[in-house]
């Protein structure tokens, strides 16, 4: 279609931007309504980290040695935060595949709304959802005795870095949701997500792993975020002294930006390819 320029749209740019934002907000409201109607969504999502906290801190904790005089829960809690953010992309993928399978995505696409809102709405509501998850998780961490000694600014920056990781993975989730055939195959993503979350510094320092595995774990974006927030919270940060471990504060920004730069265009491209 070479005649796109002839499109007889009477709406100006300002008006279109207004509707892109308004439609995005309508989609966000829909997703927030889901949370209100199904608090179990949050419970499910937090179930895994909470069970992990109990298992690792109280069951395995005494056997976990991450350094001289280090309380394991101070090491594990920031890891748990990062892992929850990392696994969040599965929720994104699932929400996308459900809408696609039920025909809701096609209904949106057949309507005169801003097409971008389908994707931006997903992004905004997932970040809000993740912020809520983090708040609940932080309260649980405080209850079991975790503390941040980094001061309010550093603590806030740490939470921002966690949300940045979640934000970057939204686009991975959207892409996978659009690629997945159905809900079952999207459910299988856990098999991919689990090692991605675990082969990292979340539960154990990579320097304690076999060399080859430790190298993968160190370069895992989840590790960069986990180590950066440990530093910001003033929690213990055992390091093998490698470059990647010494620069986690930088990599916790670089990794998410790189992931976004790669996967956001892929996700948007895939969304547009629905019209093929």
């Amino acid at each position: 279609m070479s005649a796109v320029a002839q499109t007889a749209e009477r709406e100006g740019v300002g008006r279109r931007l207004y509707w892109a934002a308004a439609d995005c907000w309508t989609i966000v409201r829909r997703d927030l309504t889901h949370l209100v109607k199904q608090p179990s969504l949050i419970a499910w999502q937090l179930g895994f980290p909470i069970v992990s906290v109990l298992l690792f801190v109280y069951v395995f904790g005494s056997a976990m040695d991450v350094g001289e005089g280090v309380d394991y829960k101070d090491y594990a809690m920031p890891g748990m935060f990062a892992m929850t953010m990392a696994f969040g992309f599965m929720n994104t993928a699932m929400a996308v595949v459900v809408d696609k399978e039920r025909g809701v995505t096609d209904r949106f696409r057949s309507m005169p709304m801003a097409p971008s809102a389908v994707v931006t709405g997903r992004g905004v509501s997932d970040v809000l959802h993740a912020a809520l998850d983090l708040a609940v998780l932080a309260v649980i961490a405080l209850v079991v005795g975790w503390r941040s000694d980094g001061g309010p600014l550093a603590t806030l920056w740490a939470f921002a870095l966690l949300l940045l990781l979640r934000f970057a993975l939204i686009w991975v989730g959207v892409l996978l949701g659009l690629l997945a055939r159905n809900q079952e195959s999207a459910g299988n993503l856990f098999a991919v997500a689990f090692p991605f979350g675990m082969v990292s510094s979340v539960f154990t320092p990579p320097s304690e792993m076999p060399d080859w595995l430790g190298a993968i774990a160190m370069w895992n974006p989840v590790s960069a975020t986990a180590n950066a927030v440990r530093e910001l919270y003033g929690n213990p940060l055992p390091s093998g002294g490698s470059w990647i471990e010494e620069h986690s504060a930088l990599m916790a920004v670089v990794w998410p930006l790189a992931l976004t730069a790669v996967f956001l265009p892929l996700a948007v491209g895939r969304f547009q390819r629905l019209g093929r």
Partner: protein, 339 residues
């Protein structure tokens, strides 16, 4: 019988859907291979064809969900490729799934879609209430669709497509997976919409659905037009009435066959189903043939178990036209005649 569609006046005033030479290829499969459609305003236009005939692809192209590889189409007077937004303001789409949010209530669904159609919060709320009434969902308004019957969910789906009272409503297999009660609920809702002037394009592989709802039916296969007519015209086209006689005993079959052969339409041979003792043949004038056969068999003292005139079903039309058996057989219309 498979005459190409006649050229017709193509003003978009009278024809809210005009498609010419639609082409869409996936790999080496031609989903649409030069399809033409002209849908008169205010009618229900049925697209009938076997699975894979291109019905869904046609609807998805006309409702701007997929881009065409060739041909052109205007819906509501706007080109689907060049001005999809203008088309989207004028159409409603109900696809193969009940495309509603399962967790929002029925009312919240309609209000959300109303906002996305840019009605504004107040008008979206009023429109939702109107549609809930119109589609008989007022009592279930504040419940979640996941608890609805299939028919209710479909009606909510239809209501969601009717937010702007669209010029053209596309229904892609709207009753697939519904029980008979759900289907009749949806049919009633669709009939109600055409009374309000909406033009409906309906795809189905249920022949009775096409028969009951459509003003005109286009039979398509392999992405091309096979034929187009009214439901009655389609049935007439494959030979009109057939006479059917069931002999009382096997030894009577030859006599029955001879009687039927005398009234069979020119050039037609009676067909015999030996196991069921059934003899049938197409006839030109059904009533005259029936009377003649009945009199002759009575005169000869041949005992018959049953004698009747049968109209071809759309199923047979479909089979004759496409060589494919439709998924669901329609019960045969049997005109009993007492001798």
């Amino acid at each position: 019988m498979t005459a190409p569609p006649r050229p017709r006046p193509r003003s978009t005033e009278q024809h809210p859907v005009v498609a010419e030479g639609l082409r869409k290829t996936y790999g080496d499969k031609h989903a649409l291979d030069g399809l033409d459609l002209t849908v008169p305003r205010g009618t229900v236009f049925g697209l009938l064809g076997p699975n894979g005939a291109g019905k869904t692809t046609a609807v998805r192209a006309l409702s701007t969900l997929i881009r065409l590889d060739g041909g052109r189409a205007t819906v509501g007077g706007h080109d689907v490729g060049r001005d999809p937004r203008a088309v989207r303001r004028r159409i409603g789409l109900t696809g193969q799934h009940a495309a509603v949010d399962q967790i929002l209530t029925a009312r919240q669904n309609l209000e959300m879609f109303g906002r996305l159609f840019h009605l504004g919060a107040d008008r979206a709320r009023r429109r939702a209430a109107e549609l809930l009434d119109q589609f008989g969902l007022a009592e279930a308004a504040d419940k979640q669709p996941q608890g609805f019957s299939g028919g209710m969910r479909r009606r909510l789906d239809l209501a969601s497509s009717m937010i702007l009272a669209p010029e053209v409503l596309f229904l892609d297999e709207p009753t697939t997976g519904l029980d008979p009660r759900g289907r009749s609920e949806v049919w009633d809702a669709v009939r109600g919409l055409t009374e309000q002037g909406t033009t409906v394009v309906l795809t189905t592989h249920y022949l009775d659905e096409a028969d009951k709802l459509s003003d005109r039916i286009a039979v398509i296969d392999r992405g091309r037009n096979v034929t187009e007519d009214t439901p009655a015209g389609l049935k007439r086209a494959i030979g009109g009435d057939r006479i059917e006689v069931v002999a009382a005993e096997p030894r009577e079959v030859p006599a029955v066959r001879a009687a039927v052969a005398r009234v069979a339409a020119q050039g037609a041979e009676p067909e015999t189903d030996a196991a069921e003792l059934r003899v049938h043949a197409p006839v030109a004038d059904g009533v005259a043939a029936l009377t003649a056969v009945a009199r002759r068999l009575q005169d000869e003292g041949v005992a018959v178990a049953d004698i009747g005139l049968r109209r071809p079903t759309l199923d047979e039309v479909f089979l004759a036209l496409t060589g494919n058996r439709a998924e669901q057989r329609e019960s045969t219309e049997h005109l009993e005649v007492t001798v």
